[in-house]
């Protein structure tokens, strides 16, 4: 347990001193603040662009627009920034040989994988909570009368998909020695989820529905129970990917 703690401390110090944590916090804070603002201001901006005889009519912005921005930003830019920042999770240690030193001191490879995964999960969780609180605050302030449904569950689904994505990233990192290879494999696996989503009967099992059905949940057009299976499968897949990472990493010649 002490080794987990020691290595965990090292990971956190690394995130802080290499500014990874700061970058993540800033990116997600910017999203958090701008999501409702963009929703509110977009019609105004469009109105100013309109000239004589050319009328752009947009419906009045609502809280839904703010949350649309939230889920769009988090699932696109948010995930991309997260993956890029964490893509060096193992490759930076391989290339410099920093990990070998600790492994020869009796640090187990299982500890390395588990600690690195949970450190990433911690950062991801903090960032998504920060982003959510900021968006929530501004949305309530700008659109006080709008009602949203299943908001927490919808964000939970997004968070859950993040856990799966990080587990996939961890697994990819054990397969290759470079951070690009790691990103590539992660990308291929995610694209695979997107492609099989074409088959309608698979959708309710497919983890990708955790980041495509969020607005449906909020508008109450999709039932909460329809996403239980996808959540369960995400958890199982995350566990499988982490176990695979450990198996591969333990066999890896360094």
């Amino acid at each position: 347990m002490n080794r987990y703690l020691a290595f965990f401390k090292k990971e956190i110090i690394e995130y802080i001193r290499t500014y990874k944590l700061l970058i993540m916090l800033i990116v997600f804070a910017i999203f958090g603040i701008t999501n409702p603002l963009i929703a509110k201001l977009l019609p105004e901006i469009m109105k100013n662009l309109a000239t004589d005889g050319f009328v752009i009519t947009l419906p009045d912005p609502t809280a839904y627009d703010a949350w649309t921005q939230f889920f769009k930003n988090a699932t696109q830019m948010g995930f991309i920034v997260t993956l890029i920042l964490f893509s060096g999770v193992l490759s930076s240690e391989y290339s410099k040989g920093t990990l070998i030193n600790l492994l020869t001191k009796g640090l187990s490879r299982t500890t390395v994988i588990l600690t690195k995964y949970f450190s990433m999960v911690l950062v991801w969780t903090i960032c998504i909570i920060l982003c959510f609180i900021l968006t929530y605050g501004y949305t309530v302030y700008l659109f006080p009368n709008d009602i949203t449904y299943n908001l927490l569950f919808s964000v939970f689904c997004l968070w859950m998909f993040g856990l799966l994505l990080l587990a996939i990233l961890m697994f990819s990192a054990t397969l290759t020695k470079s951070s690009y290879g790691c990103l590539l494999i992660t990308g291929i696996i995610v694209v695979f989820f997107m492609i099989i989503d074409i088959i309608p009967s698979i959708h309710k099992y497919n983890p990708i529905s955790l980041v495509t059905d969020n607005m449906g949940l909020i508008m109450n057009s999709i039932k909460v129970s329809s996403l239980y299976l996808a959540n369960l499968i995400s958890v199982l897949l995350s566990i499988i990917f982490i176990i695979l990472s450990i198996v591969v990493f333990r066999k890896k010649q360094l």
Binding site: N2, R3, I13, L102, K105, G106, S108, R250, L254
Partner: protein, 306 residues
């Protein structure tokens, strides 16, 4: 007792067979010079000892315990200094040693006391609060020794610790290793023979996947000693007289003169230094110096590796 025993170790990378049945024994409290050309397989051997690479076949024991690949328990006996050590640049030496200590499972007080002591030993006392990012190669090498000695290992493995350093840095590292000798056994891989001659008492030469030569330095020199002598005379006349002596005109004797020094090589096993001394006495020639020539490690190395 032997700290390290390697039996019939084989390892190949693709078509390239690096180790072909390596046998090696390192006795306790020695400094073992592990010599070999670049690419001879020194680093591969070390990585297998540390459980970082998997051997194709063969066995290794450290302190009587078998080394297993992957999760390597025997590493608790070992301190390791990689050839180009690199540490987390965003930490300072104290923080890094603390991390190493916690991973090794030392208590807080011991880590603190040992860190201070080791940083003093390796001469990084004044840099202990500086970020490792700004360290020179020599400083990283010294921090490498400090972290390797932190858990008081029974076996310290240094992979070419001096290869990339300037002469002063090299001397410092060698001095630190000599100072550590009392507490631990050291395996020291290198291709710089002068370093080996300076600090090692056992030598093993890795060539063609096997230990081509091993033993104490003097044993090895004994095996490879040719009966070669160097005589230095007062002046060139004496030297010339000696060179022209009838007694030395034999096919088994090679003579070579350079001004007032004469080099004699005796290939006949019945002849030795006393034969030369007898002749000198008979002829009333008194040399300034009479030297038995020791083979240099370099000439041995070249002979073995040829």
């Amino acid at each position: 007792m032997n700290i390290l025993e390697i039996n019939q170790l084989y390892k190949r990378f693709g078509d390239h067979e690096v180790l072909k049945g390596l046998d090696m024994v390192v006795p306790e409290h020695s400094i073992f010079g592990f010599i070999g050309k670049n690419g001879a397989g020194k680093t591969t051997t070390i990585k297998i000892i540390l459980g970082l690479l998997k051997a194709d076949s063969g066995s290794i024991t450290v302190c009587g315990e078998k080394v297993s690949y992957g999760e390597t328990k025997t590493n608790r006996y070992i301190g390791f200094l990689p050839d180009i050590p690199d540490f987390y640049g965003y930490m300072n030496p104290l923080e890094y040693l603390n991390l190493c200590g916690e991973i090794t499972g030392l208590s807080k007080d011991i880590i603190k006391a040992k860190s201070e002591e080791l940083l003093e030993l390796v001469g990084l006392k004044n840099d202990k609060k500086k970020k490792i990012r700004g360290f020179s190669r020599g400083m990283k090498q010294r921090l490498g020794i400090a972290q390797a000695l932190l858990n008081e290992p029974k076996l310290l493995i240094c992979d070419e610790p001096t290869s990339a350093l300037d002469p002063i840095g090299r001397k410092e590292i060698l001095d630190i290793l000599l100072a550590a000798k009392g507490k631990t056994t050291i395996i020291f891989s290198t291709h710089i023979l002068a370093d080996v001659e300076r600090i090692c008492d056992y030598v093993g030469v890795l060539h063609d996947g096997k230990l081509a030569l091993s033993g104490t330095l003097s044993e090895i020199r004994g095996i490879y000693r040719h009966d070669e002598y160097m005589l230095e005379f007062n002046n060139e006349t004496d030297a010339a007289i000696f060179e022209m002596l009838e007694e030395l005109k034999q096919p088994s004797i090679q003579i070579e003169r350079r001004r007032n020094t004469v080099k004699v090589r005796l290939a006949d096993p019945n002849l030795d230094g006393s034969f030369l001394l007898n002749i000198l006495a008979q002829k009333h020639l008194v040399p300034l110096k009479f030297n038995v020539l020791e083979p240099s490690l370099e000439s041995l190395f070249i002979e073995v590796v040829k």
